[in-house]
Symmetry: D3
Subunit: 246 residues, 6 copies
């Protein structure tokens, strides 16, 4: 299969993360995976949920939303419907869990990090772009309140990518049209140290073999390594703080 | 009072409307009034609400939302709360009413125009920017399906601006900091022919006299005339369709 | 146009405010603008919302509702639907804002005034009748706890009326049938000193010129002056407390 | 015990039903049991719920609400809370069931009768007053569309009353203060023919014996007989239609 | 009429209560009235609702639910609909009120007993089976924390049963098929001392006479006496605690 | 680590599936994974969601719920809260997707299969037990309407199991206590042909390496093979229908 945008099977789309995208949040980016565009904002709050009060540890929570016309067909505004869909809840739980995997809650202290991922344009991979972009917004937010010489509360880099099987072959970072045709869909979240935080493979239309799964995993790992290299470029010297007492 | 951004009392902020901002909607813009940024998308649907069925006329409806971190302090996501605030509903009713004021429902035919105004950054005047920007998105959407030689379903231009009284003096197009200090707040929606669609003056902190009200009105009218001139520039030759059988 | 009830264009309907209409509330009236009938009740609560706690100032909040058969066609009960309509929220925000405009929050102290406006019969002008009637209910409620010799927490009178344009001419205090035919609808809220609290003009069916707007404003001002005279009659000597240290 | 209003144990409060209380509904009354005041409105709709469609039978459904300040302490508006309480639902189910007991659904044909009971002032017995008053509103509504010579769709009269046990003795038609002190509370709904539609005895604070229950039942039956006599007075010659082909 | 399961008119179905049905709750049973099966669980919580705080008394509250396929036709899951039906709320209020009738709130102290009644299979009489079964679960839960020598917080036994009139004759403990045919339906809740807590007779399809009501009451009383005998068997020596300082 | 119930790392708990557990549903089982107990019911409905109408294909949808006291600490009833949690929605989406993976929608025809998984007791692995049990309920339901000689609409067996990493070592089929201690949690859904439908590995507390992931996958595959052998035993000769034209 030739990909509609001419990419190689193991090639990412054009990736761009623009820092300080908004005026007010402590950290904010516009992250682009090709035509997929997500605004990620990180907000710091000086309190934690009741179940953590007094324990000295912090918390991170994520919310996700699609603008009604981020999609080909207008999707009904969840605020108007009065409830978030199962898909939305599943995605925001995934984003929160992923970022939690690299946060040092003790070093953070009794603070909550709110992460808002609002999809402006949805051309496939919105949840993986959200994770990769939100990571940068959170680093920027926490850097603003970091006391030099103390442990920076982020232990490692984290990024995410999708892989899918179309007509029996595996492809990295699917766009919407590819995603619609994929029989199997995998989302992979991995750290800078190459450790997995989340591996989700789903046979949307067909089942998949052990061998196919391994091939997808390998494609995804290579893709995430490139994404994390790009995150380091974007952060510049700030990237040195991650995982350090700096 | 010297304005914080050095403007004259009767001076608009930098206004910018970027057309075709999104990939999927029939019409979409990013509208900026200074640091206020709103994405306006127009969607066409080939049906009308039940109460209009079979009458040969169309409908337009608007929805409005603030991204959680469009504001200085994070505002709770309405989809998560499960309901839209009174403020949100008031604003989306205003936007819908304003656009309805220049639409020719018969010429539109049995179609619904959905307008989504999503505020990316809120530095005052989000409802007026939404109206001014949504107008352009709707023109673009309707131009796509317009049959030459038939009446274009938009009868006139429409734009909106705020005016406020701070320490007894009137100022055009308030930014957030000015808005917080204003005792009186007016929103004005006016057509290209200089006719009003909506005049709303509210004594948020103090009451206001007949004379002050007239002064605000005059400032607003002059501001909207400039905004409509800019809308014409932005649309270029497409602006000729408005109000014509073309 | 001859008005259906034979009134002059600048003539109010029969206005009546019956005090102490209910047995339990601290203040309550039945207000009638012709066939429009609204029960307004004022309740005092010895606490304020969290954002005001400890500041020494009070608060006022209003709720509005239509009985299902107050209207020609039964309107669905909002408690059964599970949410208040945009129209309801817009009206209760307006009532609250209007009363807030004449309250002295410092003199009130850390109390909340709850105002309930329940429309028994809706023949046009329910929001303006609510404001005019609720004012009396609030005066009665606050008089009950007023310590002589201290500033009475109401600074001025306030009343409201609608004006509309039908077939190009302006009419005061529209009944439902007139309201349905009006192309332009204005609601005006004004104090005893002739200061505006709210001016809302809306082109429901057509736009309106600056001159027409001025004409409506003049009609409305004259109408409110009469309404406030009537409020003074209704309150009798109690009216002397308003705006005084008594 | 001497009753606080000097009544005998088996004496009703002053009962009053004012017909045609509202301008718009097909039938409407203000019903008063002493200081308890309820507006009952009956609306006819030319369709039935889906599960009855095409069967040739009609339906009746009731809704009930307390105005926020009908009670001593303000009760939170259910439309604002976004849901009806269990108590509200229980009462509206009771009202609907009671009226259904005397309706001839075949004679009604495929129509729905909507009954709205809105409590203006709640001094005990609001549900029983609602049933007694709503009956009159429904008769008035159905009389308006009745074709002489066909069966009138109401088969019999119906009224309701409460009885309670206070300090071991039984009392008819409790007011709020008595109700608060009652250990046992009974609501009785009975037809003109002396048949029960509903008997509900509840030990709110204490249990009750078979003998006490029988005593309450006897008091209630006598009370309802008086209420139905009064309903006949109120309806005048219209009362002849009930249970007849007229 | 011969009953479909060959029972005499005054005969209960096979009754079974299996204690300690679940692993985690403080008390839990599976109660069976023939094919009707309900899991009742009692949970103790060391706090009371706000309106009871500091008064030294406890509280009991009940929740009820039907599994979607406990019924012949699948009933929509209330969690998915987002609200509990009027029927559900009515039943859980009845269960709570019934158990409250035999609890000694002072002896309980500032604790809340949560009762969950989840219907696994619904063949008529689910509310009465819930009451009879929940009683045992609550005894088991409270026995676990009872200090010997202090008053046991349950004053008496309580059980419930339904009675109905089919074709003019009264039958005890209706199964679903009988219930569907019954014109009148009674639910009776009675204590070990033969005192009523609740008597609810409803003419679902027809009205009923005083004589019929008395006959139903007698059948129900006899049925509950048998149910309470069975409860004592099931509890064994634990039954001695009820109503004693033990 | 010695497992608390003495199992080997690669050993399942006692598995039991009891068919025809409920009286009314077309298919129903009680599935037990040790102390985890779930009632799974399958309902057939002769219609499909709107988006499938007229296409000749069927649909399957799943709902999941925890009884309030299925868990150690009582979890709030979702019907009372008025919404389903993110966790519930995620699980019911997983169950539906898994079953969809082995259904032949064309052979099913325009029918919907509703699957209800209600957890009676939750000792870890409720979602995997739900999938394994629901499969049997669906086979039973579809067998009832299967026309011999036509393709049976289930193409293959499907079962699910969890695997986790505790202190660096992998264990099969975690119970609740193990699950609470696991740093990594994997859920695996696999068909009789050894194809994956879903692979979800989540680093709840720690991240995991590629090698650890492979070890978990191997444990899970072996466990599911045993589960599917057991499913075949349970179904007996009915198991021959799966994947056949029979």
């Amino acid at each position: 299969m030739n990909r509609i945008d001419g990419r190689q099977p193991d090639q990412l789309r054009n990736i761009r993360i623009s820092r300080n995208y908004l005026k007010y949040p402590e950290g904010s980016v516009l992250v682009e995976y090709g035509d997929t565009k997500v605004i990620c904002a990180a907000t710091l709050e000086e309190k934690v949920p009741p179940f953590l009060k007094g324990g000295g540890e912090g918390w991170i929570t994520a919310e996700y939303s699609l603008l009604p016309r981020s999609t080909q067909v207008r999707n009904v505004r969840e605020a108007a419907k009065g409830k978030q869909s199962g898909r939305t809840q599943e995605i925001q739980r995934l984003i929160g869990r992923s970022l939690r995997g690299v946060l040092d809650m003790k070093a953070l202290g009794e603070k909550t990090v709110w992460v808002d991922c609002d999809v402006i344009q949805a051309d496939g991979g919105t949840r993986t772009a959200s994770i990769t972009g939100a990571f940068i917004a959170v680093v920027d937010a926490l850097a603003k309140i970091h006391t030099p010489g103390t442990p920076f509360p982020i232990k490692d880099f984290i990024a995410a990518v999708s892989v899918g099987i179309i007509d029996g072959a595996a492809y990295l970072d699917l766009c919407y049209e590819e995603d619609s045709r994929a029989g199997v869909d995998m989302n992979l979240v991995m750290t800078g140290a190459g450790q997995f935080i989340e591996v989700q493979g789903t046979g949307e239309k067909t089942s998949f073999s052990h061998a196919q799964f391994s091939e997808m995993l390998a494609l995804g790992e290579a893709g995430i390594r490139q994404l994390i290299d790009y995150q380091k470029d974007v952060l510049g010297t700030l990237s040195w703080k991650v995982g350090r007492v700096d």
